[in-house]
């Protein structure tokens, strides 16, 4: 988690980066590729080398004999030497094969693909709402610093931010559980037509989404507020006022576009934090996404599934960060000049 008021730092100018764009892009892409490779290696070794043998973890509450354990070990290819396992893993990965889940007995890639869309839906809608809410409140709070609105909205957002996500979810569940569905994503007895299904999914989405928004929007509010404060004394605002522009036009046309830049990066940098929030929210509401899958993998000590999820979640966050860096390069001339 990053501290709430942390303004994302702009890339530091380095004297060797004169050749500009291509070099910046290559550097960022190269860095991301290296990181991605490290994640691939890390997720392999985390599961295998650290104490805690997957088969023993899996069978520790069962009464399997030594022969059956050895059979399981062979079945999952865990009796081979480590380098051979690593080669198997890399070859499988190149084919999009993440192995078979110890718990579900299904290919990990299938399980992840199935859980992907619910998570994208939940995280996407929640992020969108929290960006809009956070930017709107942050702009108004920053523009009238010290006003009642500023103090109330900042305090309220900070309070929500410091509450644990899962607890907010549980309280919301206890309060509003009688008006909204509390489990899953779709009632099995919904008619199979598109409209009723979509409405039912939306109905299920309300509470988890609300929980996630409550935790996420504070960051946008605080960053927008502090970056607007940075712009407050800028000369161009005096010019705009001297031209006779109305106060809210000065704000919306001149101050806000400049203050928006740090929040654009924040959207991408935040993603690691959002994933963490999604894990707990999905656990509370049994939302069938990647977070719930991770929870199941954790409680069943399902090594292959854990490895695949770590790879996919960390990889997704890495790629999104790369996109964020490149996007910032396009929209912020100061980064380009560096």
């Amino acid at each position: 988690m990053t501290s709430p008021a942390a303004t994302p730092a702009l890339a530091e100018p380095s004297p060797s980066a004169r050749s500009g764009g291509a070099r910046y892009v290559l550097g960022k892409v190269g860095g991301a590729v290296v990181s991605l490779f490290v994640i691939v290696v890390l997720s392999f070794f985390l599961i295998r080398v650290l104490p805690g043998d997957p088969i023993r973890l899996l069978t520790r509450n069962t009464s399997l004999g030594a022969a059956q354990v050895a059979e399981l070990r062979h079945q999952f290819g865990l009796d081979k030497p480590l380098p051979a396992q690593f080669v198997d893993y890399m070859v499988g990965l190149a084919h999009g094969d993440l192995g078979v889940s110890l718990r579900f007995g299904q290919p990990v890639s299938q399980l992840i693909l199935r859980a992907l869309w619910p998570t994208v839906l939940l995280v996407g809608v929640a992020t969108l709402i929290s960006i809009l809410l956070g930017l709107w409140q942050g702009t108004r709070a920053g523009w009238r610093r010290g006003s009642g609105f500023d103090r109330f909205s900042t305090g309220f957002a900070l309070t929500l931010w410091s509450a644990p996500t899962f607890w907010l979810g549980m309280i919301l569940l206890a309060l509003a559980g009688s008006w909204f569905p509390t489990q899953g994503i779709l009632d099995p007895d919904t008619p199979p037509e598109f409209l009723p299904q979509a409405l039912d999914v939306l109905h299920h989405l309300v509470l988890p989404c609300l929980t996630l928004v409550a935790v996420l929007y504070a960051q946008y509010l605080l960053v927008m507020r502090s970056s607007l404060l940075e712009e407050m004394n800028a000369d161009y605002l005096t010019t705009a006022r001297a031209k006779g522009l109305r106060d809210d036009l000065v704000r919306d046309r001149h101050a806000v576009p400049n203050a928006l830049l740090p929040t654009v990066t924040l959207v991408f940098i935040q993603l690691g934090f959002v994933v963490g929030g999604a894990v707990t929210v999905e656990t509370v509401y049994s939302w069938p996404g990647l977070g719930l899958l991770l929870y199941q993998a954790l409680s069943d000590h399902d090594g292959t599934l854990l490895q695949g999820l770590l790879l996919v979640l960390a990889g997704a966050v890495l790629v999104m960060n790369l996109i964020g860096d490149l996007l910032l390069h396009v929209i912020d001339p100061r980064v380009r000049a560096a």
Partner: protein, 294 residues
């Protein structure tokens, strides 16, 4: 002799910091709240009986609302929620503090090394820091504490191993600022070695900000600890605020609307986190001149 003069000056500076901190109402409230909670946590064995935590010795009914000798009602196996809350504070605070010490320690070392040695070491360490900064830390911490032997120790290690990059970056920029000052150059000119410059000049200059950062970090560590315990990764034998909520969700206390069981742990986490944040922000405002004018 010179060192005693330096210490006198430092003590005077600490006095000034305290004088300024006292003017911040939020910081003082946070400090007072923390003092009370830490005192309660430390005194728990004296003011209560640990045997009440044992499920087999539970005397109350199942999920009973407050009253009948139980100030905050009972949990799903008839234990007093107040007792769980009191003993849970020990684990939450202990893990929060220990994990923060670990992550701030690692972060400070990495940050100072990066800024001091520069060049190749900085390039490599910066990559590693950025790598960990970007990763979804909760996922990594959860996986780490699963593969390590479960328990309080591995939760501390898992949080410490994933939370250090923010400190490292802060310490790095602060060290760079300190090392560009003339008195460091003077020290080099007088023949000081790396360890002298780092130990005698850089670390004392960086320490105040690291301290403020530590206070803010504890808040994060406590939230992460409760989240990991909530995901069922804690020590099942010692209750923490997170594991209370884990049990509450597992046993249907949410649908039963057992508010006396749901509210206290969450409010406790929120209060401790807010108190640490208020202290940290007040300290930061005192120690970081850039924030003082705001």
């Amino acid at each position: 002799m010179t060192s005693s003069i330096a210490w006198q000056r430092r003590r005077a500076a600490a006095g000034r910091v305290w004088a300024q901190f006292r003017t911040d109402r939020g910081g003082l409230i946070g400090l007072a709240v923390l003092a009370v909670i830490v005192l309660l946590a430390v005194l728990a064995p004296l003011i209560s009986d640990r045997s009440g935590l044992d499920v087999t010795h539970a005397t109350g009914g199942i999920l009973q609302p407050p009253g009948n000798g139980f100030l905050l009602g009972t949990d799903e196996s008839g234990r007093s929620v107040l007792l769980l809350l009191l003993w849970g504070s020990r684990i939450s605070l202990l893990v929060g503090l220990a994990a923060t010490l670990l992550s701030v320690g690692v972060g400070t070392i990495v940050g100072v090394l990066m800024a001091h040695f520069g060049g190749w070491a900085q390039a490599v360490l910066m990559r590693v820091t950025d790598f960990f900064l970007v990763l979804p830390s909760l996922v990594l911490a959860a996986v780490l504490s699963t593969v390590l032997t479960p328990g309080i120790g591995s939760i501390i290690v898992a949080i410490g191993a994933t939370a250090w990059p923010t400190t490292a970056r802060l310490v790095r920029s602060q060290t760079l600022a300190v090392e560009s000052r003339p008195y460091i150059e003077r020290s080099w000119a007088l023949g000081a070695g790396h360890w002298h410059v780092i130990g005698k000049h850089v670390l004392p200059a960086v320490a105040p900000l690291v301290f403020a950062n530590t206070t803010l970090n504890v808040a994060n560590s406590i939230i992460t600890e409760s989240t990991l315990s909530f995901l069922g990764l804690g020590d099942p034998n010692s209750p923490s605020w997170g594991s209370m909520l884990h049990n509450a969700l597992q046993t249907g206390a949410v649908t039963a609307r057992a508010w006396w069981y749901l509210l206290p742990p969450g409010v406790a986490i929120g209060v401790v986190v807010l108190a640490f944040m208020m202290c940290g922000r007040a300290l930061e405002a005192v120690l970081n001149p850039r924030l003082r004018e705001r």
